[in-house]
């Protein structure tokens, strides 16, 4: 089969609807008679609920109902534990999941206490202000270390502490490695929280239709099928009575998969009770409290090395902040634990984590999902080691890379999918070489000093033409791996219709990743049709019953391979049927441009539409053992995740007096196995890098010790803009994954993962002469924080030890 589309820069099938304003997002769905919901939320981070009085709200004209925890009766249940803990030996784990409405206690600012339903959103918001809530304040605990200290306020009293989990994973013998080391370096690191920042906030529209006994829910979810299954069970309905539609979604990035948000549980219930459609669209202010967040961790790490820079072992002990509840189990800290190992041959590893409840919004994965923190710790340790040993930063990485013949490489610990952490394939040095070439990095030692590092950038004109002071320029280069494309499975159904066009249905949701095109490319190649003739349907549980969701950079890997398998099966049916009709052996048939032709006899042919019709006859009988139509359903479940990797490099210039940093150039060399559509892959990487830049330098949740957020707006929480993100140059390395027939590895999160580690390395490089000994160990950095660090380093306090 010749490949016309796989690997090509195909323009997207979905774009026209999005560009003309025709595409329907959740809030664009308008049903007659719709009611609107607004939530009454806690303004305390920790407190006892003494009383909730909805009476004043009910007096307001236009208010239809107010519901509190007491009104929910038996429907009030803590949410499910989404991901059970991995079977790590000696693990302790306590699940405390979120509730639909706070009943006895509130545990973070913004936790919903009541929901008001009214004829318009404006009235609902007015009425939410009318509800009288009497809370008794309790001391809040916000800092993750303080949460585990003796005497800390208890968030879930029955546990007796705020410890949600404790786990140790080891490989080899770190203590022996430590004893044998020439160099030991130990430091503390921290990585703070941020929001996902999808441009579309979350939203739910639920419609119970009494006559058909059907519940339809439009939901900005990344996992429509599990939402359908869970809601059916909770509401006592058959799965066939519940339809969840995730239409066009305005960005996901992780938090749009969190079964279940209180709103997802409440709106269907309210619609069934009131017999009318009910809509709730989160506003941006709410989003800072009611949508999950991520990345708060503090690490104490140590690296043991030989004098030549080879790593003997790493020890890392960290605390992970899970917020007020932990519905996502241990996915995040395990990702951190596993991703820290990076592309390196690291024989001895001791990794221990504790997970702490805090009085902050719930933590679940955001693009990168715990991996950033692991990469930050490892790359920082290598930078420190390079400095200590007088080695070049690229060289110390090169010396420790796993060799291309080391695969599959077993790291002897468990990954988030409960499978052993085994890298499937990779080749890391070519990526490093390519990145060095593209960024123009010259290793230290080859010239009297690193030509970029610490030297002034050209004076004079800036990009905007304004003159400026001397800036110091620095280069950074880091590497990382990413476990992607985990199971359990996804499915797809491919059908040739009587028009000769193809319908492809899959259960995964899509939030802008280009699935309407990349999946169509896979199928179009198999069926010999134009890529625009493959109509892709995703995210509608009525169309496909089975599936999990879009997370862990798995859409293209898992659903993509299911699409491929279904298309291969349909291709076989096409050729078999054509062979019968044309009375020619299948081997002599060709399938291209929507027509089956006979090699050497161009007049003998049959179109796909005709074949589809004749596979679904109105008379006669379908033969035993065959099925009507040109249709097939297939599933794909990888045995474990595929390991993507990459090297990022950047050049920054820093104004040493103001600590403002400008990124001048950015290079990404990455390996996501075979590439379905380079255009889409580049887009994914660019977006990831921008997200990473935000996390590194701009985005910070300014939360005080009472758990109050001081910057819950996009005015004060700074998402990177077009002037903050530099042009990004990309290059591909391709080591196909042996774990799936198409050789794909995931790419959705890759861009975001190493950016903070890279950013601080480049900034340190720029300032190495101006502020000797400067060490950046906490993310996010900000101009203010960098300024303080520069001052400290210049005062001689930069090289503080652990």
């Amino acid at each position: 089969m010749s490949s016309r589309y796989f690997g090509a820069r195909i323009r997207r099938n979905e774009d026209e609807a999005l560009l003309t304003g025709r595409a329907s997002f959740v809030d664009d769905v308008q049903l007659p008679g719709t009611l609107h919901a607004a939530f009454v939320r806690s303004d305390l981070a920790h407190g006892l609920v003494r009383a909730v009085d909805p009476a004043p709200a009910l007096e307001r004209p236009g208010v239809v109902g107010v519901f509190t925890a007491a009104d929910l009766g038996e429907y009030w249940q803590p949410g499910p534990l989404l991901v059970p803990p991995a079977p790590i030996e000696g693990l302790t784990f306590e699940a405390r999941t979120q509730v639909p409405l706070a009943r006895d206690k509130v545990r973070h600012v913004g936790e919903p206490i009541a929901v008001v339903v009214a004829e318009s959103r404006y009235v609902a918001e007015d009425a939410a202000e009318d509800v009288i809530v009497d809370l008794e304040p309790l001391d809040a605990v916000v800092d993750v270390r303080a949460a585990l200290a003796d005497g800390a306020p208890l968030i879930h009293e029955d546990l007796g502490s705020n410890l949600a989990a404790h786990a140790v994973q080891t490989k080899g013998d770190y203590d022996a490695a430590r004893a044998a080391a020439d160099v030991l370096l130990a430091r503390d690191f921290s990585y703070d929280r941020g929001v996902s920042g999808a441009m579309e906030n979350r939203g739910v529209l639920a419609h119970w239709d009494e006559r058909s006994s059907q519940l339809t829910i439009w939901d900005t979810t990344q996992a429509p099928i599990p939402i359908r299954n869970g809601l059916a069970a909770m509401l006592g309905l058959s799965e066939s009575q519940v339809r969840v539609v995730a239409p066009f979604i305005g960005g996901g990035f992780g938090p749009k998969i969190m079964m279940f948000y209180p709103d997802e549980v409440l709106l269907p219930w309210i619609s069934m009770r009131l017999g009318r459609p009910v809509k709730w669209i989160e506003d941006r202010f709410e989003n800072f409290f009611s949508t999950t967040q991520e990345r708060g961790q503090v690490h104490e790490a140590e690296i043991a090395l030989r004098g030549d820079g080879r790593i003997l072992g790493v020890k890392d002990v960290f605390v992970h902040d899970t917020g007020a509840y932990n519905p996502y189990g241990l996915t995040l800290p395990i990702n951190t634990q596993c991703t820290l190992l990076g592309p390196y041959d690291l024989p001895n590893y001791y990794s221990e984590f504790r997970v702490a409840f805090t009085n902050r919004p719930i933590v679940t994965p955001i693009r990168g999902a715990g991996r950033q923190q692991g990469v930050f710790v490892m790359e920082r340790l290598l930078d420190l080691a390079a400095r200590e040993l007088g080695l070049d930063r690229a060289e110390i990485r090169r010396r420790n890379f796993l060799s291309p013949d080391a695969f599959p490489h077993d790291h002897e610990i468990l990954f988030q999918d409960f499978a052993p952490l085994v890298y499937d394939s990779g080749d890391y040095e070519p990526a490093l070489d390519k990145a060095i070439e593209l960024i123009g990095y010259e290793p230290a030692g080859t010239t009297p000093s690193d030509p970029a590092g610490g030297r002034p950038a050209e004076e004079g004109a800036d990009r905007d033409g304004a003159s400026r002071r001397t800036r110091l320029r620095g280069t950074g280069i880091v590497s990382y791996i990413e476990g992607t494309g985990i199971g359990p499975y996804e499915g797809a159904r491919v059908r040739v219709e009587a028009s000769g066009k193809v319908c492809l249905v899959t259960g995964v949701g899509t939030q802008g990743q280009g699935h309407f095109t990349s999946f169509a490319q896979i199928v179009a190649d198999q069926l010999g049709v134009d890529v625009t003739d493959v109509r892709v349907v995703t995210g509608d549980t009525r169309e496909f019953h089975w599936g999990t969701g879009t997370f862990a950079s798995r859409g293209a890997v898992v659903a993509g391979n299911a699409c491929h398998a279904a298309a291969v099966a349909v291709r076989e049916k096409i050729l078999r049927k054509a062979s019968e009709i044309l009375e020619v052996a299948e081997e002599d048939l060709e399938l291209a441009e929507g027509v089956v032709t006979v090699q050497g006899a161009p007049d003998l042919s049959i179109g796909l539409g005709e074949l589809a019709l004749r596979s679904n006859p109105l008379r006669g009988a379908v033969q035993p053992g065959t099925e009507p139509g040109l249709e097939a359903t297939a599933y794909f479940g990888p045995q474990r995740g595929a390991t993507a990797s990459g090297v990022h490099a950047m050049i920054v210039s820093v104004d040493p007096l103001t600590a403002m940093v400008e990124i001048e150039r950015y290079v990404v060399v990455h390996d996501c196995g075979t590439v379905i559509n380079p255009l889409i892959v580049e887009g994914q990487i660019h977006g990831g890098v921008a997200h990473g830049i935000g996390n590194a330098f701009y985005e910070e949740l300014d939360c005080d010790s009472e758990g109050q957020l001081h910057n819950a707006s996009l005015m004060d929480y700074l998402l990177p803009t077009a002037t903050d993100v530099p042009p990004i140059q990309t290059a591909h390395i391709e080591t196909p994954s042996p774990l799936n027939p198409l050789g794909i590895k995931g790419v959705g999160e890759a861009g975001a993962i190493p950016v903070a580690a890279l950013f601080v390395q480049a900034v340190e490089d720029a300032l190495k002469e101006w502020a000797p000994g400067l060490e950046i160990r906490d993310i996010p950095l900000s101009p203010n924080r960098l300024f303080a660090l520069i001052e400290k380093a210049r005062a001689g306090g930069g090289e503080e030890g652990p």
Partner: protein
């Protein structure tokens, strides 16, 4: 204001005249989306930062979430629904598709409307000018690079040199 507490307004949207009676506090964004059913204008922050709701008010780009519908009385409004013509996509729309200048597409209508006005004013922009003009529109998916490329291509197309 009339007896029902609403205010009658007349607007022209994408060349079509509309007469409605609205609450004085109704945002122009909600008016377009929910009263007129023009849901191509998206709402991302409701405090004027993200730019997703940008529309043209008498030719000037404005944040529809920072304007009350009553303030638009008598005005001519342009939204994303009015960009394409019978002959096909507007050059900016076509360039966004060609350059992969959108992913989830939620911020796209606001960016298109901002750029329509920008290219009107600056037909031959530099990359930096484009980035500056885009800096009031947030996009979390694309990293902006392919948006910049799309605007560069559209500018050339509109000048008739592509």
């Amino acid at each position: 204001m009339n007896a029902t507490g609403t205010v009658p307004i007349r607007v022209t949207v994408n060349g079509e005249p509309y007469e409605r009676s609205v609450e004085a506090r109704l945002l122009l964004s909600d008016f377009l989306r929910h009263e007129l059913g023009l849901s191509g204008t998206h709402v991302g922050c409701e405090h004027g930062v993200c730019g997703a709701c940008t529309v043209l008010l008498d030719g000037e780009p404005v944040r529809a979430c920072l304007v009350f519908a009553v303030q638009a009385d008598g005005a001519s409004i342009g939204t994303v629904e009015g960009l394409a013509s019978k002959d096909g996509l507007h050059p900016l729309q076509a360039a966004f598709k060609e350059a992969h200048g959108l992913q989830c597409g939620f911020c796209t209508p606001g960016i298109l409307m901002t750029m329509v006005a920008f290219l009107d004013e600056v037909p031959e922009p530099t990359e930096f000018q484009i980035r500056e003009a885009l800096s009031g529109n947030l996009c979390r998916c694309t990293g902006y690079q392919k948006i910049v490329e799309a605007v560069e291509a559209a500018a050339a197309d509109l000048r008739g040199i592509s």
